[in-house]
């Protein structure tokens, strides 16, 4: 699917006196088809909403579907850099795709702003001055889930995640904070749709709770099958396992489940209230955390464009590092390895009218950074 959105104004004259007369060209590579489509669509919609609201006429966004395939993502990045001549890349959802694209893009002098994937190698030894993650380092939400499991009194947890970089980061992050024992640890296949074999092992394991990280369609399949299996151990997960898209599909089976997130629609600040209202008005559905990340990414970019020219890489990088924008999460700052320092909340799945959604019940980790800051030298 080729979807090209061009927001280029014809009125060049009006821009002649501004600093960035050439405009900024953004290449967005994201997942718009298959079981991961919901995530990419939300990031795209959040991003484009912020661009539209800014009224900015000197930014052009090229959007392409990576189909969750690393080879496709690499081809798209090459084409965007070489023929489309983009200044900035963004959009990748999946960490295995980010690992394939980001190092070569930043080595070619392009900026990469991640609205989602935050694999640990890119936060630690493989960090790069031109790489910024606006969402989280992969381990973050899982660390908060581990801390929550301690508070909830779980002492014997069964953990599972897909076998790809973000899945490994997820279990690492959970284990970093969880103090209890593990009843079992399983890596599933990325994109797996049948979890009968894993659920059987959970049933036999004698665990007192289950922690799982299964984003997108994987989470939907797992939750439906888990509900039907008769295993009734309490579930804990990151927001990725209980995002707005998953909840509508799973319904009652997820009610009351605790999950951890850096964002929720009820975070009380003006930027967030305006974002939730305008997203609903524009797209007719509630925003997910992915949409909030896309929205923040675009606003970070716009805030840097306002004070620096993208062709002056050092000035532009300094403008990005300042993170001088109103994040829908409230307080937001970059750690020295260009990953966020932010609060992470514990949310509960509730039903508002006919709509399943989350509400914040506690703050899990305050001003939380990431474990890889020391490994990054730049």
């Amino acid at each position: 699917m080729k979807l090209k959105t061009i927001l280029m104004a014809a009125s060049v004259a009006a821009l002649a006196h501004t600093a960035q007369a050439e405009g900024v060209k953004v290449g967005m590579i994201t997942t718009l088809s298959g079981g991961g489509a919901g995530l990419g669509i939300d990031v795209r919609d959040g991003f484009m909403l912020a661009i539209a609201q800014s009224g900015s006429t000197d930014i052009e966004v090229v959007i392409e579907d990576d189909q969750r395939k690393p080879d496709v993502a690499v081809q798209l990045a090459d084409r965007m850099i070489q023929s489309d001549k983009v200044d900035i890349l963004t959009g990748i959802i999946w960490s295995n795709l980010a690992m394939a694209v980001v190092p070569s893009a930043t080595a070619q002098g392009k900026f990469y702003l991640s609205p989602n994937a935050g694999p640990s190698p890119l936060a630690g030894a493989g960090c790069h001055p031109n790489y910024f993650n606006v969402a989280w380092q992969n381990d973050n939400l899982h660390e908060a889930a581990g801390a929550y499991s301690n508070d909830a009194g779980y002492s014997n947890t069964f953990i599972l995640a897909p076998n790809y970089p973000a899945g490994q980061d997820a279990l690492t992050g959970f284990k970093r904070f969880f103090e209890g024992a593990l009843a079992g640890e399983i890596y599933t296949k990325l994109g797996q749709t049948d979890y009968a074999a894993e659920i059987a092992q959970i049933r036999a394991s004698g665990a007192d709770s289950v922690f799982f990280f299964l984003p997108g369609g994987m989470g939907i399949s797992f939750l439906k099958q888990y509900a039907d299996s008769g295993v009734d151990l309490p579930l804990v997960g990151p927001a990725f396992s209980f995002d707005q898209g998953i909840l509508q599909a799973v319904g009652d089976a997820a009610l009351g489940v605790m999950n951890t997130s850096q964002w929720n629609k009820d975070i009380d600040n003006a930027a967030n209230a305006a974002f939730v209202t305008s997203f609903q008005a524009e797209y007719g559905r509630l925003p997910s955390l992915y949409a909030s990340q896309g929205f923040d990414t675009a606003n970070l970019l716009l805030s840097a464009m306002a004070v620096a020219d993208v062709n002056d890489a050092d000035a532009f990088r300094a403008a990005l590092e300042a993170a001088n924008f109103d994040s829908v999460r409230g307080d937001f700052a970059f750690a020295s390895n260009h990953h966020p320092i932010q609060d992470i909340y514990v949310r509960e799945v509730i039903k508002e009218g006919d709509v399943y959604t989350n509400r914040i019940v506690a703050t899990g980790l305050t001003d939380h950074s990431n474990a890889y800051v020391a490994e990054c030298s730049m």
Partner: protein, 305 residues
């Protein structure tokens, strides 16, 4: 490792195998009778699932949804045969692969255009939802048990159809000598359309059954298609019995491998590396099985040379 876990995993393997059988039966019939490699079989699986999800969404009835999956997939199969496949019987396999690959792209984009990129959901009917308790205290989802039952009934029905009816006789004759049954006055083009529609209906039916426990989305058929080809190769091309045995072997190997191999390596390795070695080996297990079968029986378990 308890007996209960092993029984439950065995049931999971059988359920997976039965689902693969529904796919592989159509594939092996089409290949055996017409000599056509139909890569678009996975698209028919997807079409069945989408038809079921659409009808279930409109009427709320799961039985109507299953019926719709059979009918719509059969019609789609018959149309494919009449418009595309018919022109390809005399061409070589490469042309057939190209044409049916094009069909995959057309069906995927067409479905995306009609239903969007978001997955659809088909709910398990209330009567079949939840677990039941089997002997030895095994708890097992009723719906998966029902899939096993339905799959075995379909298998019996197919055996009866092939070995006891006139149509079945013609199909078997078509497999052994295509020209001769034409010469004997059997309307071969009608027979081909029928076989293709039958195979398509089975694939669509499998898609609808599985759609209720997973999600209904564009591209859901292709991973299953690859496994179905493995089943056909193991069972022997053109053999329904081979498809059943092959499907159960693949289903059991995959499911049991996924949980036994990591625990096996756990006996003498540290847990994390046992996990990674075990899971990489288990994803290869069915291909190792296929290679082993081909080593001793190059035409598959029940294939004729």
């Amino acid at each position: 490792m308890s007996l209960i876990l092993i029984i439950e995993q065995t049931l999971n393997g059988i359920q997976f195998g039965v689902m693969l059988f529904l796919m592989a039966a159509g594939l092996t019939l089409i290949f055996g009778v017409m000599g056509v490699i139909n890569l678009a079989h996975g698209s028919l699986y997807m079409i069945g699932a989408f038809a079921a999800a659409a009808v279930a969404g409109a009427t709320g009835s799961f039985l109507l949804a299953l019926a719709a999956s059979l009918v719509v997939a059969a019609i789609a199969g018959a149309l494919i045969e009449l418009t595309v496949m018919r022109r390809l019987y005399d061409r070589d396999h490469l042309d057939q692969v190209l044409a049916t690959f094009a069909l995959i792209l057309i069906f995927s984009e067409g479905t995306r255009w009609a239903f969007g990129s978001f997955p659809l959901f088909l709910d398990i009917p209330d009567a079949l939802s939840g677990p039941i308790t089997l002997p030895f205290g095994v708890q097992y989802p009723l719906y998966r048990l029902a899939i096993i039952g339905i799959g075995l009934v379909v298998a019996l029905g197919l055996f009866a159809l092939i070995s006891r009816t006139r149509i079945g006789m013609q199909i078997r004759a078509g497999e052994s000598d295509r020209e001769m049954i034409g010469a004997l006055g059997v309307n071969i083009s009608v027979l081909y359309t029928l076989v293709f529609a039958l195979g398509a209906a089975l694939a669509g039916f499998a898609g609808a059954l599985i759609g209720a426990i997973q999600s209904v989305q564009v591209g859901m058929g292709e991973p299953v298609l690859i496994l179905a080809f493995v089943v056909v190769v193991i069972g022997g091309i053109g053999s329904i019995k081979g498809a059943l045995v092959g499907a159960l072997l693949v289903g059991l190997t995959d499911t049991l491998g996924r949980f036994l191999l990591p625990s096996f390596f756990g006996l003498f390795m540290e847990p994390s590396s046992a996990m990674s070695v075990g899971s990489s080996l288990s994803s290869m297990s069915i291909y190792i099985l296929m290679a082993a079968v081909l080593l001793f029986k190059p035409t598959g378990l029940y294939g004729s040379a």
